[in-house]
C-alpha cells in the first residue's frame, strides 16, 4: 500500500518529463516534420482540395493548439490508423513482441557477460588478466555497431564465411527458426554493449573496493573472496541497477532501430524508422508517447528497486 502510494507520487513527478518528451517529439516529428498533404491527395489536386486536406490535418492551426490535440490523442490512446491502413494498436501489437524477443537475449547477455568480465578484471586488478580484459573492452568500444553487424554477417552468414545462419530476415514460428534468425543480431548487440558495460562495471567495483568499510572487513579477518562477492557487490547494486534500467529504453528503440533496419526484421524499431522517413504521424505519436511512458516507468521502478537494495533510501 505504502509502496503503491510512493509509486503513484513518483509517476506524478514524471509528468513534466512526459510533457517535455512529447513536446520535443511533437515539434520535431509533426510540426517541423514532413508535410503529408500531397501524400493524401491524388494527382493534380485543385487548390480547394489542398486546402481541405491541410485543414483536415490541422496544418492551419497554431502550434499550441496542434500540440494539445496531439496530447489529447495520446491521453485517450487514440492513435488512429497508420498510413498503411492498419490500426496503430494492431501494428504495435504485432511489432513490439518481435522486437522484444529479438533484443532481449543480446541485452541480457551484454550485461551479464560484461559484469562477469568486470568482476574478473576488478578481482585481479593490475594483473595481466585485468589488462587483457580492458584492452579487449577498449577495442570493442572502438568498433562501430554497423561494422560489428556486417562483420558478424560476413563471418557467420555469408558463403565466404561459415554460412551457418540466414543473411537477413525473420521467422519466429518455431524455436529452431527463431534461434537461427536471432543468433547473429544477438551476437552483434552483445558485442557492441560488452566493452562499455565491462568498463563501467569495473570502474564502479574498483571504486567500491577502496571504501573504508572494505578495510574494516579486512581488519576483522573476513576472507578476501567473501568481502569481494558479498560486501563489495551488494554496495555496487545501486549503480548496476541504474545502468541496466536506464539502458532499457535506449536499447528497446535505438538498438532495435538499427538492427531491424539492417536485417529487415519487422519489429517496432523498423516500423518507427519507416514512420519517421514517411512522416507517418499516428505511428510516431504512439511510439513517442510509449517511449516517454516507458522512461518514466523505468525511473519509478528504479526508485523502488533502490529501496530494496539500499537501506539508506527510504520513502519520505
Amino acid at each position: 500500500m505504502e509502496i503503491l502510494q510512493y509509486a503513484l507520487r513518483k509517476l506524478l513527478g514524471g509528468l513534466p518529463l512526459i510533457v517535455g518528451v512529447t513536446l520535443v517529439s511533437f515539434a520535431l516529428m509533426v510540426y517541423f516534420g514532413p508535410d503529408m498533404t500531397y501524400l493524401l491527395l491524388g494527382k493534380n489536386p485543385t487548390p480547394e482540395q489542398i486546402l481541405e486536406v491541410r485543414q483536415q490535418l490541422g496544418y492551419d492551426q497554431p502550434f499550441l493548439q496542434r500540440y494539445l490535440g496531439f496530447l489529447r490523442e495520446i491521453v485517450t490512446l487514440d492513435f488512429g490508423v497508420a498510413s498503411t491502413g492498419e490500426p496503430v494498436t494492431a501494428l504495435l501489437a504485432k511489432t513490439i513482441p518481435v522486437s522484444l524477443i529479438l533484443i532481449l537475449p543480446g541485452f541480457i547477455l551484454g550485461h551479464v557477460v560484461g559484469l562477469l568480465m568486470a568482476l574478473a578484471a576488478a578481482y585481479w586488478r593490475g594483473r595481466w588478466l585485468d589488462k587483457l580484459i580492458m584492452a579487449v573492452a577498449v577495442t570493442g568500444m572502438s568498433i562501430s555497431f554497423l561494422i560489428v553487424i556486417i562483420g558478424f554477417q560476413i563471418v557467420l552468414s555469408s558463403s565466404d564465411g561459415l554460412d551457418l545462419f540466414p543473411v537477413r530476415g525473420w521467422n519466429s514460428t518455431s524455436l529452431g527458426s527463431y534461434l537461427t534468425y536471432v543468433t547473429v543480431p544477438t551476437l552483434a548487440t552483445m558485442f557492441v554493449a560488452l566493452g562499455y558495460e565491462t568498463r563501467f562495471y569495473r570502474s564502479i567495483i574498483v571504486e567500491e573496493m577502496s571504501r573504508d568499510h572494505v578495510r574494516t572487513a579486512r581488519a576483522f579477518g573476513l576472507p578476501e573472496s567473501r568481502i569481494f562477492f558479498r560486501n563489495i557487490l551488494k554496495n555496487c547494486l545501486i549503480p548496476i541497477i541504474t545502468r541496466i534500467m536506464f539502458s532499457i529504453p535506449q536499447v528497446a528503440i535505438g538498438g532495435a532501430l538499427l538492427i531491424e533496419s539492417y536485417f529487415g526484421i519487422p519489429g517496432v524499431g523498423k516500423a518507427t524508422y519507416e514512420a519517421i522517413i514517411t512522416g507517418d504521424q499516428p505511428v510516431l505519436k504512439a511510439v513517442v508517447s510509449l517511449t516517454a511512458i516507458l522512461f518514466v516507468l523505468v525511473v519509478v521502478l528504479t526508485d523502488i528497486l533502490y529501496r530494496a537494495v539500499d537501506p539508506r533510501v527510504t520513502i519520505e
Binding site: L28, S142, I143
Partner: protein, 296 residues
C-alpha cells in the same frame, strides 16, 4: 594539530596551471597514450591535406573498372562503379574530423555554458528548467531523436550535426553542473561574490576555467561518439549528404559484401577503427593524467 599552518587557498589560475603542467608530464610518460596521440596526429595530417586540396581530390572520379583488385594505381582497389577506394577513404578521414570536431567543440561549449548556468543557479528555476531539459533529452532514445531532427531539417546539410550536438551536450552539462555546484562553495568564488563581481563574470572567469580538464576529456569522448554516430546515420540515410564518409562507404559496401567483395568495407572500417581506437586511448590517457585524485 595547531603546529601545522593551514595551506592558503591558491588563486584559480595558479591551481589550473600546476594541474595542467602535472598532467602534461604524466601524459608524456604514458607510452600508450603518446603512441595513440601520434596515430591521431597522422590521421589529422591526412585530413589537413584533403582540406588543402593536396590529395584525395580524385575521390569522385571514375578512374578504373568495377571491383579492381589492390594495385599500384589503386592501393585499396576500386568500388562497384570503378572509383578509387583509397582516395575515398582518405577523403572520408577529413569528413570524420569535420564531423567530430564541429560536434565536439559546439556540444562542449553548450554543455559548459548551460551546465555552468544550471550549477551556478542551482536551487532556482533556471536550474530546474535546465535539468528538466536534460532529462527530456535523455529520455528520448538517441537514434529516434537524431532521426527526427535529421528529418525535421531535411535537405539541410547540418541536420546531422545539429541532431548530435543537441543530444551530446547533455552529458557534459550534467558533469559541469555538478562540478560548478562544488566550486561555487569555494572561498575564492564566495570572495568574488561578496565584492560584487557580476555573476556572469564569476561563471566565465572564475568557475568554468576550473572545469577545463573535464571539458577536454568530454570533448574527446564526444569526438569519438560523433564519428561513430555518423557512420550509422549515414547508413540510415540521415547523415552526410554531400561528399564522402566512412559511413557512406560502408553503406555502399553492404551490397558488395554480399557479393564477396570486401575492399570497400575493409578500407572504411579499418581506417575508422584505427582513428576511434587511437582517440579512445588518448581520451583514457588524458583522463588518467587529469584525474585530480591521482595528480593531487
Amino acid at each position: 594539530m595547531s603546529a601545522v599552518a593551514l595551506p592558503e587557498i591558491p588563486p584559480a589560475r595558479a591551481r589550473g596551471e600546476s594541474l595542467w603542467r602535472k598532467a602534461a608530464r604524466k601524459f608524456a610518460r604514458d607510452r600508450l597514450g603518446m603512441v595513440a596521440l601520434g596515430v591521431v596526429l597522422a590521421y589529422f595530417v591526412a585530413a589537413v591535406g584533403v582540406w588543402l586540396g593536396w590529395w584525395a581530390m580524385g575521390w569522385p572520379d571514375l578512374t578504373g573498372t568495377k571491383w579492381e583488385a589492390v594495385s599500384g594505381t589503386h592501393w585499396f582497389g576500386t568500388n562497384i562503379i570503378g572509383q578509387d577506394i583509397f582516395d575515398r577513404a582518405i577523403y572520408s578521414t577529413a569528413t570524420a574530423f569535420e564531423v567530430g570536431l564541429i560536434v565536439a567543440l559546439v556540444a562542449t561549449a553548450i554543455g559548459a555554458i548551460l551546465g555552468g548556468f544550471a550549477g551556478f543557479f542551482a536551487g532556482t528555476w533556471i536550474d530546474e528548467v535546465l535539468v528538466w531539459l536534460m532529462g527530456v533529452l535523455d529520455a528520448i532514445p538517441f537514434y529516434l531523436f537524431v532521426a527526427a531532427v535529421a528529418y525535421a531539417l531535411t535537405d539541410n546539410p547540418w541536420a546531422m550535426h545539429v541532431a548530435m550536438i543537441s543530444t551530446f551536450w547533455v552529458g557534459t552539462g550534467r558533469l559541469i553542473r555538478g562540478e560548478v555546484i562544488k566550486l561555487r562553495g569555494m572561498e575564492y568564488v564566495e570572495a568574488a561574490h561578496s565584492i560584487g563581481v557580476p555573476e556572469v563574470v564569476i561563471i566565465f572567469r572564475h568557475i568554468l576555467p576550473n572545469t577545463s580538464h573535464i571539458l577536454l576529456v568530454q570533448a574527446s569522448v564526444m569526438f569519438v561518439g560523433a564519428i561513430k554516430a555518423e557512420v550509422i546515420l549515414s547508413f540510415l540515410g540521415l547523415g552526410i549528404k554531400d561528399g564522402m564518409s566512412w559511413g557512406l562507404m560502408i553503406d555502399e559496401s553492404t551490397k558488395e559484401v554480399l557479393a564477396g567483395f570486401y575492399n570497400n568495407f575493409l578500407a572504411a572500417s579499418l581506417l575508422m577503427f584505427g582513428l576511434v581506437m587511437a582517440f579512445n586511448a588518448v581520451a583514457d590517457a588524458l583522463q588518467d593524467a587529469l584525474d585530480p585524485r591521482k595528480v593531487g
